[in-house]
Subunit: 293 residues, 2 copies
């Protein structure tokens, strides 16, 4: 790979740039160009040496995209359609386009509409890497090492496009797997999107009470960890929730059923039933955690 | 204080012993005796120098308790009644009894019944200190430094008993506050007990699915923190849930209402409403977290 164009040089885009530069033995032959909404953030990415150059809105997009090997869209997902529309008129047949959004069905629908006959050059992707802090200042060369990246090719995706994006993420140190966009959205509704909504709901419910200050005053480490993800970016999670609405509503319904079961056990003072439920959860959680480390 | 008797020398009981020994300038004048269900664990506490001596079931409880300044019950809460019944026949008028249980209304009810006319020597207490690991091997001299300890005196509690237990925890480095047992149970149902139940419910629901292994395989750091408390001790949480049933059912109902609100916003694709809810939660969570550190 000789030229990479990154739309959105924040935590994800910046970390990809750092990792690719490190991976490419002779990194002077790799040229990484950044684009984005915020000129001062892009300038800072160049100053930090994260990217080689940045393009502002007056610069010529056509020549920049002409010989790009990979275009990565790592901007907030709500911008994906706009970015694809800007790319489309200049998209060379040799270029592969991929993204880093947390939901995939909506991105594929949008890419298919906008890229049209060039949709076979698009590979949806989702790097599963922590994003507590944001912005290029938070970028880390090893952010993706050992982390999962899910790619969601379709029947029409070009084999070489898929291979190039796979290699792209493997160069960053990630473990790459493939599944359908629908399977992806269903899995992440369960293990990521629902927990975020549950944490937001708990904090919002407590914060609205007259004695919220007293309640927060006695909250300790269990509360801290449980609610950490409730500190996440509201706009990003609005977009994810809406984009993955159907899968998320299914997860929410299943969870509401489980809470109903728990409530019934508690109302009936069914100690055995409560202990059995807690034990199943505790065993599964600790087995998962042990397997992770 | 010259003699402390601790029932249950685990994480809490052991850390109290370490902290009191450190606090007392001439710690040779302080004698700490441990009792418990597990003789080998008690022997290990003596070997580690955490306590000065331990009592087994054949030893004479009367002489041990006769000149005790404070008796601390730090065993699993389900054992509290049995321990109080063992103490009662030997309870000197100069001795103060306190506990470290996570629920307080049930403990006070039980203490009032069993200690009867000596209930004024009892002060309910709850140290708010992490307990991921258990057992005396996990004890730490600074476990309570800067942590909250809530005491729940009643109208009949002796002023000097309350003062002695307050000093006891302050010597361990804790911030001591007072409230009614009912207020305590309501606050902790909200910021501790409910989050535990919610985390248990999520993991149990996911673990029961045919594709649980795949789901856990893609779970990342957000899931890890959210579910950490689902790895907690099932028996302990059964006891807490049953002991604090009424307050917990109220919290669960309020939370179910909040989830219903969230579900409705999602069904209506109300992006503005979702973002407003997430923002309220995010601002409150980050303000709390900033104030803590």
């Amino acid at each position: 790979m000789k030229k990479i164009v990154i739309f959105g040089v924040g935590l994800i885009g910046g970390s990809v740039a750092l990792a690719l530069k490190k991976a490419q033995a002779n990194s002077s032959s790799l040229h990484i160009i950044g684009l984005g909404r915020n000129p001062s953030s892009l300038a800072s990415a160049v100053r930090l040496g994260v990217i080689d150059a940045c393009l502002d809105s007056r610069d010529d997009l056509q020549s920049t995209l002409a010989d790009a090997d990979v275009i990565l869209i790592a901007a907030p997902v709500a911008q994906t359609a706009g970015i694809l529309a800007r790319i489309k008129p200049h998209l060379n047949a040799q270029t592969v386009v991929t993204d880093a959004g947390s939901t995939k069905s909506d991105v594929l629908d949008c890419a298919e509409k906008i890229l049209d006959e060039q949709f076979d050059q698009f590979v949806g992707g989702h790097p599963i890497a922590g994003a507590e802090k944001s912005g290029v200042g938070a970028a880390k060369v090893d952010l993706f090492v050992g982390k999962n990246v899910v790619l969601t090719p379709t029947a029409s995706t070009q084999a070489q496009a898929l291979a190039r994006v796979t290699q792209f993420w493997q160069s960053c140190g990630a473990k790459v797997s493939q599944m359908s966009a629908q399977a992806h959205d269903s899995i992440f509704a369960s293990v990521s999107h629902l927990p975020h909504l549950l944490a937001f709901a708990l904090v919002d419910e407590i914060a609205a009470r007259p004695n919220a200050a007293e309640l927060f005053g006695f909250a300790a480490s269990g509360f801290r960890d449980f609610t950490r993800i409730a500190g996440s970016h509201p706009e990003m999670w609005r977009d994810i929730s809406l984009a993955n609405k159907d899968a998320l509503l299914k997860e929410l319904a299943a969870y509401q059923n489980e809470l109903f079961t728990l409530k019934t056990l508690l109302e009936n003072e069914d100690g055995e039933g409560l202990q059995a439920l807690f034990s199943r959860a505790s065993v599964a959680r600790n087995a998962w955690s042990d397997g992770k480390h």
